[in-house]
């Protein structure tokens, strides 16, 4: 069972992707639900809102502990929440990925865009088309962080240990490769996520 943090944001699209991969899923609204899942998705949304609701409902320690043994995939605001540091102090991150992140780095909504990206997850290089919505930029990367994709010479997809963070939205374009990798392929096990 994979949980999708459902405090705010586009969690329902991630559940649709997990459905496509035949991975059972649940919406996570309470911190004790983390005991019952094998992986977590932190979706896109607003990172200030997530900071508030996560603080009010004691999610920080629980997710940090969870991340020591179980994989987390974050997209957009989810990536911001997973960062070690965020340039905007209104956001309190979880410090799971050794990266520094700048919010809304491409500008306001009229500068949101769709672009083709080269992705190297396993052996083969793939090209996908994905939307960046008021997207964050990864401004620093620690030495244990692997870059999966760059856009304009900036990293936009990173992996560290069993965790992954993306500054764009594969779930809006029905792209399943990231969810498939994080919750199935990296464990060489069809049953990990079960």
């Amino acid at each position: 069972m994979i949980g999708v943090l459902a405090l705010q944001g586009n969690y329902s699209k991630h559940i649709e992707i997990l459905d496509k991969l035949k991975i059972s899923s649940c919406e996570v609204r309470y911190n004790n639900q983390l005991d019952e899942i094998n992986g977590l998705i932190i979706p896109g949304g607003e990172s200030t809102t997530m900071t508030d609701i996560m603080s009010r409902n004691n999610f920080y320690d629980k997710i940090q502990l969870f991340s020591q043994t179980k994989p987390i995939l974050g997209t957009c605001a989810g990536l911001i929440m997973m960062a070690k540091s965020v340039l905007d102090k209104r956001v309190r991150p979880l410090e799971i990925l050794d990266i520094e992140v700048d919010r809304n780095a491409y500008g306001r909504q009229i500068h949101s865009f769709v672009n083709k990206l080269p992705i190297k997850l396993e052996k083969d290089l793939e090209t996908i088309s994905v939307p960046f919505i008021r997207a964050p930029q990864i401004t620093k990367v620690g030495k244990n962080v692997e870059i999966i994709s760059n856009y304009n010479k900036n990293p936009v997809a990173v992996k560290s240990g069993i965790h992954m963070g993306l500054s764009f939205h594969p779930e809006l374009n029905n792209i399943t490769i990231f969810h498939d990798f994080v919750f199935i392929k990296q464990f060489n096990s069809k049953t990990y996520a079960a």
Binding site: Y11, G44, R108, Q109, I110, S112, I133
Partner: protein
């Protein structure tokens, strides 16, 4: 090449706002209160609907300086309203780089026949509706998000419920209709056929569907989400109440925990008075904002 302003990118932002609360604010201080309470976006307007109702006069798009001040003070998306059909106001808001434009019945309409052709803009639009036909006409014109209208500035949830139930009932009907029935349905509700076909297949609107117009309490927000709204706009309900900051927080939490009655009790306990509000019989038919839009 990077492609900006496509319909996909517009709907993308609407998707990100789901499960969050969009709050009406009249200045930078209120915007900050909203952001600190966990609002997912703010709607910048000079007078919230309850004040427009009280004071009368022509309600227009907001002063650019006020919008700039709000943009400077918060990091969340900033939305602003234009009069129905007033595409010049919309062009100015696009130049200001607001994140979403609400072509809104709350302001005095500029065109009594036509809405804005929203596909011409890079900035996404949200529009109000009272029924499925109105929703699909707006989507046909390019709206990337729909909100049921309710009755803005009333503090009364009854119209929001009426409009959400109406839209949901019509969608349910469509999903069980045969293909041979869709064209007549499309004619009857005055909606583009291709969108009617799409809704019949999806069982929901092709863009996010939020609720507005009358949300004043955490229970109101929970009610609208349980009726099918993907989140709520709160207009006068916060800054016309006796305790804006705690109420704003409470409504943010109620949208996350909308199904959890115990949690809603906890969230609602200790709040001061909600806005007073108006019974629909106190609003003469000619003064109902929901009648605006075509």
């Amino acid at each position: 090449m990077a492609k900006e302003g496509s319909f996909e990118v517009k709907v993308g932002l609407a998707e990100m706002l789901k499960g969050g609360v969009i709050m009406d604010v009249m200045n930078a201080d209120q915007a900050k209160i909203a952001e600190d309470a966990g609002a997912v976006a703010v709607m910048a307007l000079e007078r919230i609907p309850a004040l427009i109702r009280e004071e009368g006069g022509i309600a227009r798009a907001s002063d650019p300086q006020m919008i700039k001040d709000i943009q400077k003070s918060v990091s969340i998306p900033v939305m602003a309203k234009v009069r129905i059909g007033h595409f010049a106001e919309a062009q100015m808001l696009e130049a200001l780089e607001v994140d979403f434009i609400d072509e809104s019945e709350v302001l005095t309409p500029a065109d009594e026949h036509n809405h804005i052709w929203k596909h011409d803009f890079k900035v996404p639009f949200v529009c109000g509706c009272r029924n499925l036909g109105e929703a699909l006409r707006r989507i046909g014109e390019g709206a990337a998000m729909i909100r049921t209208k309710g009755e803005a500035g009333s503090g009364n949830i009854v119209e929001a419920v009426r409009h959400m139930r109406q839209v949901q009932t019509e969608i349910k009907k469509l999903t069980v209709m045969g293909k041979d029935e869709l064209m007549t349905f499309s004619k009857e509700i005055g909606a583009p056929f291709s969108l009617v076909e799409q809704v019949a297949k999806l069982g929901k609107l092709p863009v996010p569907n939020f609720a507005a117009g009358g949300v004043a309490t955490p229970a109101d927000a929970s009610l609208m989400i349980q009726l099918g709204a993907e989140t709520v706009f709160v207009g006068s309900g916060i800054f016309m109440s006796d305790d804006p900051a705690p109420r704003a927080k409470a409504i943010v939490d109620s949208v996350t925990f909308f199904k959890d009655a115990d949690k809603l009790v906890e969230i609602s306990t200790g709040l001061k008075s909600a806005m007073k509000g108006l019974d629909m019989s106190e609003i003469p038919e000619g003064e109902r904002l929901q009648e605006r839009g075509w």
